[in-house]
């Protein structure tokens, strides 16, 4: 699933570790979400979106959701 997390992180001058720490996960999970290898759970997606003061739909791209596994 595509996301704009990387762009939001760079705009806020945040490292992956800092974002991971802020939302309660590991740097490796943030990396995996950013490159689209892992789809965050509802709770984690909410925490990430909320951290950047955005909605889940603004951060995560659901347009191809039916084609995903």
């Amino acid at each position: 699933m595509k996301t704009i997390i990387k762009e939001l992180r760079k705009a806020n001058k945040l490292s992956q570790s800092e974002l991971a720490d802020a939302v309660g996960t590991t740097r490796q999970t943030i990396t995996s979400i950013e490159v689209g290898k892992y789809t965050a759970s509802l709770v984690l997606a909410y925490k990430i979106a909320h951290y950047f003061d955005k909605t889940i739909e603004e951060v995560f791209d659901f347009s191809n959701i039916d084609e995903e596994e």
Binding site: A20, D21, T25, T26, Q28, T29, Y38, L44
Partner: protein, 157 residues
């Protein structure tokens, strides 16, 4: 978050006691093994020597792992930042999802591989064949029991 960290601290204290117990237990096992008391139960000297070496190897690995865990846990209890990192690492949803998928597939593959090895071994050793079939049954039963338990736990009906 503070509640979760407090729970984590309590869990780490329990784990420290467990790791200490394992460390001592395997140390006792090591002492019994090198004293030669186990060797007399084996008819063949080769088997006795092999088992003695195997036990020594296992003990070394377990003791080193226990020590490593103890050091990690004590460090986490002293430093809140390390405690948080350990909490995130152990409760990371991606890792849990990977463990879930790996565990399910590991189960299937293990049973098939063990059955195959049992067939190959059967002409040479009936005891080994029975042991391997027993292992397949244990894996299958354990999986089924866990499945029933967790289905009941997470089903709302």
């Amino acid at each position: 978050m503070e509640k979760k960290l407090e729970k984590m601290r309590a869990e780490l204290r329990a784990r420290i006691i467990q790791s200490n117990s394992v460390f001592i237990l395997f140390l006792i096992f090591f002492v019994v093994d090198i004293s030669g008391k186990l060797a007399k139960y084996y008819e063949q000297q080769f088997a006795a020597d092999f088992i003695q070496g195997f036990v020594i190897g296992i003990v070394i690995v377990v003791e080193l792992l226990s020590l490593y865990k103890l050091v990690t846990y004590f460090a986490a209890l002293k430093d809140d930042a390390k405690l948080k990192q350990l909490y995130y690492k152990e409760h990371d949803e991606r890792v849990l999802a990977i463990d879930q998928i790996a565990g399910r597939n590991c189960n299937k593959y293990s049973m098939v591989i063990l059955l195959f090895i049992a067939m190959v071994v059967s002409p040479f050793s009936f005891e080994a064949f029975i042991g391997l079939i027993g292992a397949v049954v244990v894996i299958g039963l354990t999986f089924k029991i866990c499945r029933i338990y967790y289905s009941r736990k997470y089903t709302g009906e």
